[in-house]
């Protein structure tokens, strides 16, 4: 009887970090999708701007600059606890993951609170004119994106405090969530520039 060659994969690990993980790939595709959505919205912003002589159009005040800039600082600062969560997750250190997740989530909450003030100081309504509409829409898209990621992160943090927290796959999920948070921060920067500096510079 001819013996058949076999490969026994039973000893392979049951989880993996980084681009070995299917969660990483799923996160990347979601980043691609959301990034394209933002790109379309930013392109729409410039397209509508091209139709106007002045931007904002006549009689429309500039959007407030202070709160969004505060938010830029909050988000950039959040990269530090986010990094700590990621490395703790890759070390599978439950205690550190729990601690830094709570800290990172606080930054996210602060951002959302400041976002409310940002909206209030846009100085234009969504139904005033196309400038107001596209400004509110772009900021609104980013806010929804942020809010859903905040809910996601909080649920994951809570999960890490339950008995399900100490499992390899949970640590992979946490690591991917941190990866995604980097995108949330990075995507805010161009949107901030478009919304708050284009009317001032162009």
């Amino acid at each position: 009887m001819i013996r058949r060659q076999t490969i026994d994969v039973g000893a392979l690990p049951d989880h993996a970090f980084g681009n070995r993980s299917i969660m990483w790939w799923a996160t990347m595709t979601i980043i691609a999708i959301e990034g394209t959505v933002f790109a379309m919205a930013i392109a729409s912003y410039f397209y509508l701007q091209g139709n106007e002589e002045t931007w904002p159009p006549a009689d429309t005040p500039l959007p407030g600059l202070m709160w969004p800039t505060v938010n830029v600082i909050i988000l950039l600062a959040s990269l530090f606890p986010n990094h700590k969560v990621k490395t703790a997750a890759e070390d599978m250190n439950l205690g550190q993951v729990r601690l830094w997740s709570v800290i990172a989530d606080t930054f996210a909450v602060a951002f959302v609170v400041v976002r409310v003030f940002e909206f209030r100081e846009l100085n234009v309504s969504w139904d005033s004119n196309a400038y107001g509409s596209v400004t509110w829409t772009l900021l609104g898209l980013h806010s929804v994106h942020l809010l859903t990621d905040l809910i996601d992160s909080v649920v994951l943090t809570v999960l890490m405090f339950t008995r399900h927290g100490d499992e390899p796959r949970r640590f992979v999920d946490v690591s991917e969530n941190c990866f995604y948070w980097n995108f949330v921060v990075l995507s805010w920067l161009p949107i901030y520039a478009v919304l708050y500096w284009t009317p001032r510079l162009l």
Binding site: I7, R20, I33, M40, T148
Partner: protein, 669 residues
């Protein structure tokens, strides 16, 4: 086209397999080890679909969801076809009063919306949901609960649309819903809102499936299936999935803007306050053009699969074929302005789009030449799948040539928005996508159902569809050139368009008969067809290595492959994978490019959370038809459903019983 069937005498194609029961789980095929019978029972138990009274809502198995998806998509296709028949009756003679203007405008809107959003893309994804895990040698499609969720979103969207239509609030501004015709001022009421939400349902569904396909194809291929050994159909679905990721957001953003303008008074498209109707066109067509390639590229993969098996040799020029598909995918994003040549954009910019629109014919042409070369060097077997592929070549090439015509701006300025374009689009979509689809369904029917379709009915249906199609749509080229615009519910007899229209209507009757024959063949043979066995066509790819229909775990052992046609290259010598759990739904995750085994991943048990989350999301979309607060109320509810979905159940126990390993394991060289 019967006659010369020169095949090896020993080929299963000349001798039907002895009758076999469905899924007897003997570990049939070349990838089994002695003693696998017990293994089969354990695996079948672990991978079994949901049971119990609520099981319909809990299924996550890719075979179950794939079949549901295919059947539902064809129901929408049939409805869309009935709508087309109604249009053809109305246009069969001048001044006809069969349909009022209002009803006709709703019907052509519903026909386009159904075919483009509810049929063409979903059916291609549906076939992939079923077939891709089999073709890459995996036990499952990635993210099975997401697959279920995408099915429910697709289903709910279609139900919403048709309910609205039957309640006389269906959309009526065209499948492309141009503003300001679709803006609140000129389209009051809910009709266009329904259209907008239908887009959201189907785009979310399509994007979710795209994620699953990308992850499955890149990370779950069987060892040895490096990227240059992937079947061409797998490549085509990979390219398609990436196109979906980058194209769909444009129409989601566009339909969001439309909804905002209609619901909360934004002015994104309102000229009076600085908005721009062309913004809609750019966003829509940035999606709309890649959309037709999203429909077409899977069909290219299907053609390659069929030609390989029915010409008894691999497709000529694998590298050229792969690069052509990828090139088509990329170039497809650079054509969208050719839908806007009459809007007065600067001519220098427009010329770029003419060049790109013509250039895309090159990779398509290369593929046609490679297929002809394959046939030349192979040995054709004239079964219905090959007939549909030959029909594809004859029809699609003509459609591609009329496409080169409309790519030329001066010619387009005459034929844009006329029946010439209706002819062109049906030649490339029906010829380029539906013909391969019908061939592929015929080809994979035995794998999915365990039985063969009837060949004589298959040939008859092919000829009826081929002749009916050409009779219907060829005259439309002329109609457009002699002045008949699109989207007209009637025309004056003095125009002289009556005769060609009547011919087209007669053709549509033949076409409908053809489709009917095909579907009756499928429905009857699903229950009473001849048993197929594992590999009735002597196909070379992995799906033919397992039972028909496959067990829920697909393969009792995954093989290590060393060729693009594993079953034609001594499959009984292929090393086999052992060691995956028998009590948990484990799949093997391999490395992205070279498919070396990397780690194991466990998929979850059946669950109703995807259904509930889809229901909550549908609630948000429907609520948004009436008030923006639906979003505020609905989001927490949908989030709760999602939490239920993702909340882990009892943690995995360590040390699950591995598979029997027959001999000493050896790593693949």
């Amino acid at each position: 086209m019967s006659g010369t069937r020169v095949i090896d005498e020993a080929s299963p194609l000349t001798q039907p397999s002895p009758p076999r029961g469905r899924g007897q789980g003997e570990g049939a095929g070349p990838y089994s080890l002695p003693g696998d019978h017990g293994l089969h029972r354990q695996l079948e138990k672990t991978w079994s679909p949901a049971t119990g009274p609520l099981r319909w809502f809990m299924q996550i198995d890719h075979h179950v969801i794939g079949k549901r998806f295919i059947i539902t998509a064809f129901i929408w296709f049939a409805l869309g076809g009935v709508l087309a028949a109604l249009m053809r009756i109305q246009l069969s003679r001048p001044g006809n009063t069969f349909l009022s203007a209002d009803l006709y405008n709703q019907i052509f809107t519903m026909h386009g919306t159904t075919m483009m959003f509810l049929f063409a893309v979903p059916v291609m994804e549906a076939v992939a949901i079923y077939m891709i895990p089999l073709l890459v040698g995996s036990r499952a499609l990635a993210f099975p609960r997401l697959t279920a969720f995408s099915y429910y979103m697709f289903l709910f969207g279609g139900i919403m649309l048709y309910t609205a239509f039957f309640l006389n609030i269906g959309p009526d501004a065209g499948w492309f819903s141009y503003v300001p015709l679709a803006s609140p001022e000129f389209a009051p009421g809910k009709r266009v809102d329904i259209w907008s939400q239908l887009v959201n349902f189907t785009e979310i569904s399509a994007i979710a499936v795209a994620i699953e396909l990308i992850v499955t194809i890149l990370k779950q291929r069987t060892p040895g299936m490096s990227v240059n050994r992937m079947p061409l159909y797998v490549w085509s679905m990979l390219v398609t999935a990436f196109m979906i990721i980058f194209a769909m957001p444009a129409v989601m953003v566009g339909s969001l803007y439309l909804l905002l303008d209609r619901l909360v008074g934004t002015h994104l498209f309102n000229v009076a306050e600085g908005g721009d109707p062309l913004l809609w066109q750019h966003l829509f067509w940035f999606f709309g053009h890649p959309e037709v390639y999203i429909i077409f590229i899977p069909a290219l993969g299907m053609v390659s699969s069929i030609i390989t098996t029915f010409c008894r040799r691999p497709v000529f020029g694998y590298t050229a074929m792969v690069l052509s598909q990828v090139a088509t995918g990329f170039i497809g994003f650079g054509l969208w302005v050719h839908h806007m040549f009459t809007t007065g954009l600067p001519q220098s910019g427009e010329s770029f789009f003419t060049a790109a629109s013509m250039m895309i014919a090159i990779p398509s042409g290369i593929q046609i030449f490679c297929w002809i070369a394959t046939i030349w060097m192979g040995r054709p077997v004239y079964k219905p799948p090959l007939m549909f592929v030959l029909g594809f070549v004859a029809i699609f090439v003509l459609g591609g040539l009329s496409g080169v015509m409309v790519a030329s701006i001066p010619i387009d300025l005459q034929v844009h928005d006329t029946f010439f374009v209706v002819a062109h689009l049906h030649y490339v979509l029906i010829g380029g996508a539906v013909f391969p689809l019908l061939g592929a369904l015929y080809y994979w029917f035995p794998k999915i159902t365990g039985r063969l379709m009837n060949d004589r009915a298959g040939h008859v249906s092919f000829w009826l569809i081929f002749i009916g199609f050409n009779l219907t749509f060829f005259p439309m080229h002329k109609l457009g050139l002699i002045g008949m615009p699109r989207r007209v519910y009637t025309y004056l007899s003095e125009t002289g368009w009556g005769q060609l229209n009547l011919l087209a209507t007669i053709g549509s009757v033949v076409l409908a008969l053809g489709f009917l024959t095909y579907f009756i063949n499928a429905l009857v043979c699903a229950k009473r067809g001849e048993f197929a066995g594992a590999n009735p066509w002597d196909g070379p790819t992995l799906e033919w290595a397992t039972d028909s229909p496959p067990p829920h775990y697909n393969f009792i052992h995954m093989p290590v492959v060393s060729s693009t046609e594993p079953l034609w290259h001594a499959p009984e010598h292929a090393p086999l994978v052992t060691g995956l759990s028998t009590t948990a739904k484990e799949v093997l995750i391999t490395r992205t490019f070279d498919a070396e085994p990397d780690h194991r991943y466990t998929y979850p048990a059946p669950s109703a959370w995807p259904f509930l989350t889809a229901l909550a999301t549908a609630g948000i979309f429907l609520g948004l038809l009436f008030t923006p607060w639906a979003f505020v109320i609905g989001l927490p509810i949908a989030s709760l459903m999602a939490v239920g979905w993702f909340w882990p159940t009892t943690p995995q126990k360590e040390g699950d019983a591995p598979q029997d390993s027959a001999t000493a394991s050896e790593a693949v060289a």
